[in-house]
């Protein structure tokens, strides 16, 4: 509380007031700060689908039998395949794949039904355009699933029990929707962007225009100067978190299974850590353009390496190590943990402690550097 007492009556309040007036006047930045959450939600939530469905698929059915039609129906039911055409020949099949009209093809040989009737193993072939690994892996797993499902049906029809059955239960995101995975992450990415880019630009602007120099010769204490400059952006950050969570709930039905209070509390560490990075950038950048460039430079690894879009487990070891030095990696754990898993401090204390550590170290480094640039 000693800090609050020191701020009472200090130049912190005029600084804060001035900052809010400026924020209100700067319509573009204000629009960006409120508009970016909406645009990001729309982009990442609606447009980015990591689950691949409805691959256009052609069928070359040389069996033309009840069994071959049943297999095709099962495959269509997985919804991984959209049967777009029944082709008449191998040549046509190849043509559809080459032209891109089809991404997958099912070939059922003439003896498909007769082999089944004789109690022998019948084979069908699925050809996949594997140039896009994400799409092809969906096709491959869809084909495997369809094969296993149809086999089980046939065994059951013959009156025997299937030898083996695996039941998969996808917890926390049972519908396996990518929006459920992506939207909580947007909270973190958005906060990083606002705290780092907009804050560093705001501080650099003050330096560029000579107002920082003017402030330094006034009796304003350095704490008020820094806090007054930065606190408004932390408040904006909380508004952004709230906007994304509310829109996420309304548009994508993102659950909130844990404690909102806990989430907001840990968010403070993350906000402070990122504000410190923004302040640090402002001490290096000579103008607003540089600040923005440096800001974006920090954003890219944040988006790619922290597990926001791509699972860290799939990355090479070096990339995983890099991810460990980014606050967002831990904050994503917290976001998904609280929102999707509903876990509390008993599981999240480690992430919270690391974020607090980041905040402490980054603040002391950036404040020291910032004070130096004031002299």
């Amino acid at each position: 509380m000693s800090l609050l007492e020191r701020l009472r009556g200090a130049a912190f309040w005029p600084m804060l007031r001035k900052e809010f007036i400026q924020m209100r006047r700067d319509r573009l930045t204000l629009g960006m700060m409120v508009g970016i959450p909406a645009v990001q939600l729309a982009l990442f939530g609606f447009a980015i689908r990591t689950e691949v469905r409805h691959l256009p698929t052609v069928v070359l059915d040389e069996s033309r039998s009840a069994e071959s039609r049943a297999l095709v129906a099962v495959m269509a039911n997985t919804r991984n395949f959209d049967i777009v055409e029944a082709v008449a020949s191998r040549a046509d099949l190849e043509d559809r794949l080459k032209s891109g009209q089809a991404r997958a093809a099912v070939v059922i040989p003439p003896d498909f039904q007769s082999r089944l009737e004789r109690g022998r193993t019948a084979t069908a072939q699925v050809i996949v355009d594997a140039a896009d690994p994400m799409a092809s892996s969906a096709a491959i797993s869809g084909a495997m699933l369809a094969g296993a499902a149809r086999s089980a049906e046939l065994v059951a029809a013959a009156g025997r029990a299937p030898p083996l059955e695996i039941r998969v239960r996808p917890w926390y995101n049972p519908a396996l929707r990518s929006a459920t995975y992506i939207v909580p992450g947007i909270v973190g990415v958005l906060l990083s962007m606002t705290m780092i880019i907009i804050t560093s630009m705001a501080v650099v602007r003050e330096r560029e225009r000579g107002t920082l120099e003017q402030l330094v010769v006034t009796p304003i204490d350095r704490t008020s100067l820094m806090l007054g400059k930065i606190v408004p952006f932390a408040l904006v950050g909380y508004v952004q978190v709230t906007v994304v969570l509310v829109l996420g709930k309304l548009l994508f039905d993102i659950p909130l299974r844990g404690s909102l209070l806990l989430l907001y509390a840990i968010t403070l560490f993350f906000i402070v850590a990122n504000l410190a990075i923004g302040l640090l950038i402002s001490t290096v950048a000579r103008n607003q353009v540089q600040a923005m460039q440096l800001g974006f430079f920090t954003m890219l690894p944040n988006i790619l390496l922290t597990g926001f879009m791509f699972p860290r487990a799939a990355m090479p070891e070096a990339a995983q190590w890099l991810g460990l030095i980014m606050p967002l990696t831990y904050y994503l754990d917290v976001l998904r943990g609280v929102l999707l898993k509903g876990i509390g401090m008993d599981y999240l204390w480690r992430d919270a402690a690391i974020l607090a550590g980041f905040a402490t170290v980054l603040v002391s480094v950036s404040v020291t550097r910032f004070r130096k640039t004031l002299e």
Binding site: G9, G210, P219
Partner: protein, 265 residues
């Protein structure tokens, strides 16, 4: 958050001991950045209510001197007092008794004239009714009233300059530092500005001004010429002309610049 904060300025703005005690005094002031000696052995006294011009080519140490006097840079050697306060040991107190205005004006373009004034008045500890009274007073004194609600960014040079002066003097500073305050301002606005400077000086404010305009230099009560960190000459315009044996201050300046370049070559 009310008027009670005002009394903070009471002791600082109390008049100095009467007589010709120096408002600004330096002795052997020196600042070294690595190998570069920016200011070397500067000894100078400026009397209360004096308009004192600091002249010299770019890089002669004027700005470094001002920054030391504002308590922003710590002197490497020597010392200085401003309004009787030692700048090295009590920089915070110095900042409450001085005003500073640079050629960049230090205004917030996206705040109105009144909001700029209110912000700086608040930073200097004025609150509530006392602050609003002071703002109204300054709006009239510096002929800013008709533009009070206009954004500072949309003002022309002369208006900006007067607003910057208002912001730098909202707390009745005893010493006012003006670092090239009239760069890029039209002659009519410059004349008005100097009238305001003389008004302030007439009320006992000490003004230290750097300028590249020789007509402005000639308006100062006293002048000092700096070159390569050294004080070359100080005195009234007549004394300076005598020192250099020149007809005009401009000639002195050019002569000094020539010597500088000769030394550099």
């Amino acid at each position: 958050m009310t008027a009670e904060r005002d009394d903070r300025h009471g002791p600082d703005t109390s008049p100095m001991i009467p007589g010709r005690e120096a408002a600004v005094s330096t002795s052997g002031l020196r600042k070294q950045f690595g190998l570069l000696v920016a200011v070397d052995g500067l000894t100078l006294d400026i009397a209360r209510g004096e308009v004192f011009g600091l002249l010299g080519p770019n890089g002669s140490g004027k700005t470094t001197t001002i920054r030391m006097l504002c308590g922003l840079l710590e002197p490497s050697a020597g010392g200085a007092t401003v309004a009787g306060i030692d700048v090295a040991s009590e920089p915070e107190r110095v900042r409450r008794t001085i005003g500073y205005m640079s050629q960049r004006f230090g205004l917030y373009d996206d705040l109105t004239v009144r909001e700029n004034l209110r912000f700086y008045a608040s930073v200097y500890g004025l609150r509530g009714a006392a602050r609003e009274r002071r703002i109204d007073e300054q709006l009239v004194e510096l002929k800013l009233a008709e533009r009070a609600g206009q954004l500072a960014g949309t003002l022309s040079g002369g208006w900006k300059q007067r607003l910057a002066l208002a912001c730098a003097t909202t707390h009745h500073p005893q010493v006012l530092f003006l670092d090239e305050p009239t760069a890029g301002v039209d002659p009519a606005a410059r004349r008005l500005f100097w009238e305001l400077i003389y008004q302030l000086a007439g009320r006992g404010t000490t003004v230290l001004v750097t300028t590249h305009y020789m007509d402005e230099a000639e308006r100062c009560h006293r002048l000092a010429f700096m070159s390569r960190g050294h004080l070359i000459a100080a005195g009234t315009v007549a004394e300076i002309l005598d020192h250099f044996g020149m007809a005009t201050i401009e000639d002195c300046f050019i002569e000094l610049q020539r010597r500088d370049e000769g030394l550099a070559a």
